[in-house]
């Protein structure tokens, strides 16, 4: 591979833009296709499918084999609430290679003593989101169960189609949340994208266990392709 091509690929990643690298496995020829230029490429359909799945794989076109290296932007987790669960969740998420940011306007919670080595922002979610908008490669974990703090972020996550949206709170708390979001104009299908009560059902009870259950659910949303019709799956990209 040409170093210039690798640099271009890495630069796309730094910008949080998706891109694919196409390698002709017979000739060794390579080209970089940025997400915005996908349509013009001769392999457009195949590239689009690989990118949608977020998986690299081999495709065959007119007897030639091409390897598609998919580069999706790194996964980011935005945690609303510098609470006890977040203290456990942040180091676990780091270990899993996710970028984590914690936002909580309550300075008593969002104190550096409670959160070492984590991107911690003691600001309101709307102020943070203005500078750092969410996207499809972001997850939102809302943990304050305070509507004043959580709701703005939840709305933003629904609009940005975050791949995972979880919200802490009992069934009653969530029922009220659903009402508020309906009033704000979200459809039932949209609201159903919120995992609440948060986390995979493993009977989690301590803050660290809830953090683990939440990350497990988040990873399932990222990796499992159940939602994808079987016939459109690409065999090489398991």
């Amino acid at each position: 591979m040409k170093i210039a091509l690798l640099s271009a690929l890495n630069a796309e990643r730094a910008k949080r833009s998706a891109a694919v690298l196409v390698t002709d496995l017979d000739s060794g020829e390579q080209r970089l296709v940025k997400a915005g230029q996908l349509r013009k490429d001769p392999l457009a359909d195949a590239l689009h499918e690989q990118l949608r799945l977020g998986k690299s794989g081999t495709v065959e076109e007119q007897g030639r084999q091409y390897f598609i290296t998919v580069q999706s932007p790194p996964v980011r987790i935005l945690v609303i609430g510098a609470v006890h669960i977040s203290q456990a969740l942040a180091p676990m998420a780091k270990l899993l290679d996710f970028d984590v940011a914690i936002v909580d306007p309550r300075t008593a919670f969002a104190s550096p003593e409670r959160f070492a080595k984590v991107a911690l922002h003691a600001v309101w979610p709307d102020a943070y989101l203005e500078q750092n908008p969410l996207d499809r490669y972001s997850a939102l974990v809302a943990l304050t169960h305070d509507p004043k703090i959580d709701d703005v972020a939840l709305s933003a996550a629904l609009k940005a189609e975050c791949f995972y949206i979880g919200a802490l709170g009992s069934k009653r708390t969530h029922a009220k949340r659903v009402e508020r979001l309906k009033e704000a104009g979200f459809s039932e299908a949209q609201i159903a994208r919120i995992s609440a009560p948060i986390g995979m059902d493993i009977g989690a009870s301590t803050p660290a266990e809830i953090a683990l259950a939440t990350l497990a659910q988040l990873i399932a949303a990222l990796r499992k392709t159940d939602a994808v019709p079987a016939k459109t799956r690409v065999s090489a990209a398991r």
Partner: protein, 107 residues
């Protein structure tokens, strides 16, 4: 932590810009139970230093050796590993899977 595939590609660029000979190995295909998914990378420099993985440590040694040859000749190689492979007794995947690895030089 350097663990994600993209971090490894960033590291490869860094190595190449230090004028080290660098090869990039990529898992192209897997059959059966393979330890690392398609698209996983291993980068190797001319001294045999490496980062990342293409298996759970089963075939990295062989890939590194082949990669050093690729760095020298500049010619890409397609490697295949698995129990069905003749080299199974030497290097192979104990999990019973098979993998195909593409090794190319950064130039």
């Amino acid at each position: 932590m350097v663990a994600s595939e993209c971090d490894i590609l960033a590291k490869a660029e860094e190595w190449a810009k230090e004028n080290r000979g660098v090869a990039l190995a990529t898992v192209i295909e897997t059959w059966g139970s393979a330890p690392r998914p398609v698209g996983s990378h291993l980068i190797i420099d001319e001294n045999g230093s490496f980062l990342g993985s293409v298996s759970g440590g089963c075939v990295e040694g062989e890939v590194v050796t082949e990669a050093m040859d690729v760095i020298e000749t500049g010619k890409s190689k397609m490697l295949e590993f698995g129990v069905a492979d003749e080299s199974a007794w030497r290097v192979g995947l104990s999990c019973g899977g098979r993998i195909k690895v593409y090794v190319e030089k950064l130039d």
